[in-house]
């Protein structure tokens, strides 16, 4: 193996890392907000909103992300209404289209995960909250959301890792992120294994960091479920 080539490949790929990270961060953020909206519609009890959310989830989870991305990038540009609208400066950009389709897609998956979290909140806790007169937004903020978020966290961390991998598809609508640059290097040099190795290491490290961060968050949010640590017990004794 040629260390010099590996090093230069690694540097070239690292130059594309900011694009991958920007795609990831923007789409997870926008997708998360959309997912909250969709899950709110899904559990609202309003039959029209609920049906709309069901269709949304069915469509975005049932079809490949690539076809959704192509539909937005190539499909929308076909209509002159779109080309003459105020949205055109955004829909013309491959990067914005990639973020939009990634966000729409992850919203479908995340909405189902959040719904699972909400369903896991025990009815007793909601009854108790209602019994002391909590309702509406206060109930959601103090009881429903924190518990549902904790329940949804493990599944959501998997979804976030999937999103990190999905940013690779943006290369197919001409966004030069890590996978796209790797593909260009492969077709220029035909040294598949070395380029793959460098790109794989980048993604594995990114995903490892993500999973560690989520594990840390999960640990921080589950203090009530852990036995008191020796440190706190000792502190209580000496106090």
């Amino acid at each position: 193996m040629d260390i010099g080539f590996l090093y230069s490949t690694f540097l070239t790929l690292m130059a594309a890392l900011p694009t991958t990270l920007a795609l990831f961060a923007l789409s997870v953020f926008i997708g998360g907000l959309l997912a909250l909206l969709v899950v709110w519609m899904r559990v609202s009890g309003n039959p029209v909103l609920s049906a709309f959310a069901k269709v949304y989830i069915f469509v975005f989870r049932g079809s490949p992300l690539l076809i959704q991305m192509f539909l937005i990038f190539y499909g929308l540009a076909q209509f002159s209404i779109v080309r003459h609208s105020f949205l055109w400066p955004y829909l013309r950009e491959p990067f914005d289209c990639a973020v939009l389709s990634l966000a729409l897609c992850t919203a479908g998956y995340s909405a189902e995960i959040f719904r699972g979290g909400i369903r896991a909140v025990s009815a007793k806790e909601i009854e108790a909250a209602k019994a002391i007169g909590m309702s509406g937004f206060l109930l959601v903020r103090r009881i429903l959301a924190p518990i549902a978020f904790r329940h949804a966290l493990p599944a959501y961390s998997t979804e976030v890792v999937l999103m990190m991998k999905s940013t690779a598809l943006a290369s197919l609508v001409t966004v030069w992120e890590v996978t796209g640059v790797a593909q260009r290097l492969i077709s220029q040099t035909y040294r598949t294994m070395e380029v793959f190795l460098c790109a794989a290491v980048i993604y594995l490290v990114l995903n490892f960091i993500l999973l560690q961060a989520f594990a840390l968050l999960e640990y921080a949010l589950s203090r009530h479920r852990r036995a008191p640590s020796f440190a706190t017990v000792d502190a209580a004794k000496t106090a």
Partner: protein, 241 residues
């Protein structure tokens, strides 16, 4: 009316090609699932093995194939496989580029990814077997092969069905990425049809609908299998929401 003609079965229609491409997507996903089942079983055995090097190898496999973008793995298999085939051809005296057939490369790549997910499903299914049953088999002196065939395999298959359904859906959507190798599956055909008629929106919507048809149909099939496999189980209804 033009769109009906384009999607129809007439001389200017892409209907027949799209149906054929849908079947190709099914075929390549089925091949991938089969490859994944074989490799996945081996990876499961490695992960559950008591030998440390095998365990590390199994865990490394699932980490890499679940942590690296699918597209990158498809590039690796397609371009890497092609250079291996070319080198092999040179050995036999053929000068020039030889490509790996795209069906083979695609199903192998998606299959190796699905193997990593299947390994986790099988591992979970194996761990779900009551230890008492394996102890009982040991107690009556059943040999290792017999335990595997009569006690472990049937139950792993039953417990694995819901997870396998998820892996199938995942592979079905991953198979769209094989379009980069030029295989005329549903994604690629929609793309070609869209490009040559300039009706991008129409054909990507049509392709998307065919994918939705595939995913919802296979959902039904897996539900049926699950009901059938659990028909003798008293607790069959617990797992279903």
């Amino acid at each position: 009316m033009a769109s009906f003609e384009l999607l129809g079965f007439g001389p200017t229609g892409w209907g027949a090609l799209l149906i054929g491409a849908t079947l190709m997507t099914l075929a390549v996903t089925a091949a991938a699932l089969a490859i994944g089942a074989v490799v996945g079983t081996a990876v499961t055995a490695a992960k559950l093995s008591s030998r440390v090097p095998l365990k590390i190898l199994g865990n490394a496999y699932t980490t890499v194939f679940r942590g690296v973008p699918e597209l990158l793995i498809i590039y690796l298999i397609y371009f890497g496989g092609s250079s291996v085939v070319t080198a092999f051809g040179k050995m036999l005296g053929y000068d020039g580029f030889l490509g790996l057939p795209s069906f083979l490369a695609g199903s192998l790549a998606v299959g190796l990814i699905s193997a990593a997910y299947q390994a986790e499903v099988y591992r979970g299914a194996y761990l779900a077997i009551a230890t008492g049953e394996i102890e009982a088999a040991l107690a009556i002196g059943m040999p290792r092969a017999g335990r595997l065939r009569r006690i472990i395999m049937p139950q792993v298959c039953r417990f694995a069905i819901p997870g396998l359904g998820n892996v199938w859906q995942l592979s079905l959507k991953d198979s769209a990425l094989i379009s980069v190798t030029g295989l005329a599956e549903l994604m690629r055909t929609s793309q070609v049809a869209a490009g040559s008629t300039r009706q991008y929106f129409l054909f990507f919507i049509a392709g998307g609908c065919l994918y939705l048809l595939l995913t919802s149909f296979s959902d039904q099939v897996f539900n049926w299998f699950e009901r059938r496999a659990n028909r003798s189980m008293p607790t069959a209804t617990i797992g279903k929401a």
